[in-house]
């Protein structure tokens, strides 16, 4: 698994061996930013006294005070709307949307307001929000607690979309997002909050502390937005993935003895196109893996980019492995999930051509 997942880090200090799961790493990032910047404010449903349904904000209200970390009404439109106003005032709001599946009532405020404010006011006003939201399935969440709606946001001009896949990255990326002056959607793959997921759902979860990517330094550090992480350096094919699927893909390659160049994209917009091009030009084969539904998913964009820019290096058609174009089913979750069988078959197909 991702024992070398701290590659690409921007700080040298990983001396301390503090190991955190992804929730604690996110909590650490929020804590540091609340401490460093008096304009950072954390708001959302259940994030205050209780500390969030996934505990990502545990202890933050007690430490930083009720006017810095507080609960909100159950109104995603209101949460994003007031955050835009707070941003216009000069604050740096970090709203939490409890599940990505609940974000839709806030879409107008995100798409028509936060994403457009810098442009339409010619920089007079900006919306430096970081909207945190757990996304993705694999937890028996059914159709309303499992979705991966990232391509709705990557389609919007003016929004950045960031998805970490390790505790180390989650902290460094979240700090970068909060310090960024553009609105960012920060999707947290909730299936891997406690440990990376191999895709073999009947196996017990291995906790993060067994993996080096859980070594999270104390203090402030940043992972730059727009930079992919090289998960493995192989040359048989390129695999583009993000979030939970990074780990599933890595496990499948290991199980099949495939030597792939797996790129964890980390940021979908802006995308690390240089890393993608360099890899595909080297391997000549490209597989794209995401959990989201297939049609108009972000994989379609990736496939188009690779085809447009690397066509003469390709030795096989670009393949996509995705969720099916159905709502996320409850009882048939593992039939829906783009697991080892679907990924393995796609790898075989690409390598055969």
């Amino acid at each position: 698994m991702s024992k070398s997942a701290t590659e690409g880090q921007t700080v040298a200090d990983v001396g301390s061996e503090r190991r955190l799961n992804m929730i604690d790493a996110i909590n650490d990032a929020l804590d540091i930013m609340l401490e460093r910047d008096p304009d950072v404010i954390v708001l959302g449903e259940d994030v205050g006294y209780f500390g969030g349904v996934f505990r990502a904000t545990a202890g933050l209200q007690e430490k930083h005070g009720k006017t810095r970390v507080f609960d909100t009404p159950i109104s995603e439109c209101g949460i994003i709307g007031v955050a835009v106003g707070m941003g216009a005032y000069g604050l740096r709001p970090v709203p939490e949307i409890q599940f990505a599946d609940y974000i839709y009532p806030g879409l107008d405020q995100l798409i028509s307001e936060a994403a457009r404010l810098r442009y339409r006011s010619a920089t007079e006003y900006i919306a430096p929000l970081t909207v945190r939201s757990p996304f993705g399935g694999g937890i028996f969440g059914g159709q309303t607690h499992s979705q991966s709606p990232e391509s709705i946001f990557t389609h919007v001009s003016g929004l950045k979309t960031v998805i970490p896949s390790t505790p180390y990255d989650a902290k460094g990326l979240l700090i970068s997002c909060i310090e960024d002056n553009d609105p960012v959607i920060f999707f947290e793959p909730k299936r891997i909050y406690n440990g990376p997921f191999s895709g073999f759902y009947d196996k017990p979860v291995e906790p993060w502390k067994r993996f080096d990517a859980s070594i999270v330094p104390e203090g402030h550090y940043k992972i730059p937005l727009g930079k992919a992480r090289t998960v493995s350096e192989g040359d048989q094919l390129t695999i583009l993935a993000y979030g939970t699927m990074v780990h599933v893909t890595e496990a499948v390659c290991k199980a099949k003895g495939i030597d792939a160049n797996i790129l964890d994209l980390r940021t979908l917009v802006p995308l690390d196109i240089e890393a993608i091009e360099a890899s595909v030009e080297r391997t000549g084969r490209c597989l794209i893996v995401h959990e989201a539904t297939r049609t108009s998913g972000f994989g379609a964009e990736l496939s188009a980019l690779v085809t447009e820019r690397c066509f003469y290096h390709l030795e096989a058609p670009v393949e996509r492995v995705t969720g099916f174009d159905t709502p996320y089913p409850h009882s048939l979750e593992w039939a829906y999930f783009p697991g080892p069988v679907r990924i393995g078959e796609a790898i075989d197909k690409i390598l055969k051509d």
Partner: protein, 432 residues
């Protein structure tokens, strides 16, 4: 159609009936507003600014009025403004009207694509805006040009924006009249309706969280109070006791839909406040003194941490929704003449005359001054070009400010756009 066994209404139970609201008057009808309750000026009590909203709930159904039929100010809501302030208010309203007239004509002459007048509603932005401190943050909708003009925003800048010319501070990106001026504490106008309402609440929450002294105010039409954003705004305002004023401009018409489609057949818009525990006031929006006094009351309340206020300004949209609208297709042309609350500019003018502080000659001179001021500003702005005549912003600005820094994909698209400009297609160059 109906999937009920036996078909809809198959039983002997009484049949349900769906109600579709219908305005009282359509084109050609004789308009009669005698059903509207217009109470005498000065009769409405003025509660303490920190009072419990429940204690003055009837004001959400009443109509706060100051200027009476005798053109005098009456009752406890009289803001007792000095004559100079009243003349400034009158001037601002007259300037807005002159500006609207000329910009409307400019659109008809092809100088821009779109314009929206606020005729008949001038008091709801001018008098309300003047009751706030100049650094209180306003989150307007699209018919509050009166606030910008009252705050001294240069007319030339407004016209540059309307023409989307090379002088436009917003770089020609926004539909005409969607102004923004941070320097004047005037938020960027969206064009998507009611989105500004929770934003105003959020700004006010931030101001309170920071121990600031500035408050926020927002304006929204009665039609768009139906948006979820408005209800989110009311909820957040009351939950956090935000120092904010939510102004609902009830001008009776949302394009062609009368206020009944926002619920006006059942209750007032001010009464929305009561369910949320907000202070609710219903005010004669064509009475500049009542508008000023109510806005000042709400501002004082917010500044004292006594809570947010929802104010319904009852007024009438005397002209079309915009240059793209023709109201003769859906409402009686008589409505404007029969509107029982009169014209806000005339009412304030007559009040000043009744006070012995004004006369028709001075009014005529002022109207001419306003027209000349607008004309001069228009000529000045036209030096920067009008819409569609080539004097637009540098081409590359289309790609700037999407993000703070230009990402690679926008760089590539900008290069493409630049290249396209140099290519002759089918023998000619496209008109810019």
């Amino acid at each position: 159609m109906a999937d009920r066994p036996g078909g809809a209404g198959g039983s002997n139970k009484p049949k349900l009936a769906l109600h579709i609201p219908e305005p009282k008057y359509r084109p050609g009808d004789v308009a009669d507003f005698s059903h509207l309750n217009v109470p005498p000026a000065g009769e409405q009590p003025r509660p303490d600014e920190a009072a419990d909203p429940k204690s003055f709930a009837p004001l959400a159904y009443d109509l706060i009025r100051v200027l009476g039929d005798d053109d005098q100010a009456h009752g406890p809501w009289d803001p007792k403004l000095d004559p100079d302030t009243l003349r400034t208010m009158l001037y601002n309203m007259a300037l807005v009207r002159a500006f609207d007239e000329r910009m409307f004509r400019g659109q008809r002459q092809g100088k821009t694509s779109f314009y929206m007048k606020c005729t008949g509603e001038e008091a709801t932005s001018v008098a309300a805006g003047m009751a706030l401190a100049s650094d209180d943050m306003v989150f307007p909708s699209y018919r509050q040009q009166g606030i910008l003009i009252s705050r001294g925003y240069p007319l030339v800048e407004m016209i540059n924006q309307i023409y989307s010319n090379k002088g436009d501070k917003l770089k020609g990106r926004q539909l005409p009249i969607m102004y923004s001026s941070r320097e004047h504490s005037f938020f960027s106008i969206s064009g998507n309706l009611a989105t500004q309402t929770p934003q105003a609440v959020g700004w006010a929450m931030a101001s309170a969280a920071k121990g600031d002294s500035r408050i926020a105010a927002t304006w929204v039409g009665e039609g768009s109070t139906a948006e979820g954003d408005f209800h989110s705004a009311c909820t957040f305002a009351t939950v956090y006791n935000a120092p904010v004023i939510l102004n609902v401009i009830n001008n009776q018409w949302a394009i062609s839909s009368f206020s009944g489609f926002a619920g006006a057949e059942r209750t007032t818009f001010a009464a929305r406040a009561l369910g949320y525990g907000l202070a609710g006031l219903r005010v004669d929006g064509n009475d500049a003194l009542a508008v000023y006094a109510s806005q000042q009351w709400a501002a004082n309340r917010a500044r004292a941490n006594a809570g947010p206020t929802l104010i319904e300004y009852f007024t009438y949209r005397a002209e079309g929704h915009s240059t793209s609208d023709d109201p003769s297709g859906y409402r009686s042309a008589q409505e404007q003449d029969e509107w029982p609350l009169g014209d806000p500019v005339n009412r304030l003018k007559n009040h000043l005359i009744a006070l012995g502080e004004w006369d028709e000659d001075r009014q005529a001179a002022m109207d001419k001054e306003c027209a000349d001021t607008v004309k001069t500003a228009t000529k000045e702005a036209e030096k920067n070009g009008i819409l569609g005549h080539g004097m637009h912003q540098p081409f590359h600005t289309m790609f700037e400010d999407v993000f703070e820094e230009l990402p690679w994909h926008l760089k590539e698209q900008a290069d493409q756009a630049t290249r396209e400009r140099k290519i002759k297609f089918d023998g000619g160059r496209p008109k810019s």
